[in-house]
């Protein structure tokens, strides 16, 4: 080193770790895990809505809104992952 000052900024070293975390393989794994969890939660919700429904029209409306919104978020995530 011969007395020279070596400056090691804290952030960039920490940020280098992102290169190992945010790899395409890891992100696809996160996406598939999210899809599985979403399917489980949606199945449980659907079970409650159909078993304890008060009015069929209202139930269908809720199911439609829920799955439409979910499809938008899932397809956005999928498209972003393809373009990553």
């Amino acid at each position: 080193m011969n007395g020279e000052v070596v400056f090691t900024p804290a952030f960039p070293v920490l940020f280098d770790l992102f290169a190992y975390v945010f790899t395409p393989g890891a992100l696809w794994a996160v996406f598939y895990a999210a899809v599985v969890l979403f399917a489980v939660a949606s199945g449980a919700l659907l079970y409650h809505w159909l078993r304890y429904n008060v009015g069929m029209f209202r139930t269908l409306l809720v199911i439609g809104v829920y799955y439409t919104g979910s499809a938008i978020f899932l397809s956005t995530a999928y498209a972003s992952l393809l373009l990553f």
Binding site: F11, F15, A41, L45, H48, L83, F84
Partner: protein, 177 residues
Amino acid sequence: MFGFEHNEKVLMLVRRHWFLFIIDIVFLGVLAVVPALLMIFIPDTVWQSLAIAGNKAELGFFLYALWLLILWVALFVRWTDYYLDLWVITDRRVVDVEQRGLFSREVVTASLDRIQNVAIDTSGLIPTLMNFGDVRIETAGAETRNIIIKSAANPEEVKRLILKALDAFQHPSRGGL
């Protein structure tokens, strides 16, 4: 939902006051906006210093879409919890259907002949202004539990109806409800 007896008449369905569900919506809305605000206010130099091999904007969209999906599902779980958590007052009993999340559900019944007292508890500024509060139905007997209708809208009306049903149940000769 649960079995009614022959000729049993439903007098009222009570749910928690809608204001409590609105609070849930606002909370989830804030959580939805926070990452977007972070993305806007964190300087570009920080983003540029991230060692990510790929399009950082698309990564941001991907993570944000997943975050919104989580909040979206959470919103409907909360709504389902709110909607299925209800109290049914009939001309023979009071039924407490307690929905806890998605995988726990409890149904407690108190026959009108077991009811000893009905009390109201409205405490706090918002419950007073919005007219909601707890209705406590005290029952006799060790094997029956008290029922608390939590945050019921218009608790005075709920109490009045229960007492009226109780009176009609105990003195059928005075005429029905």
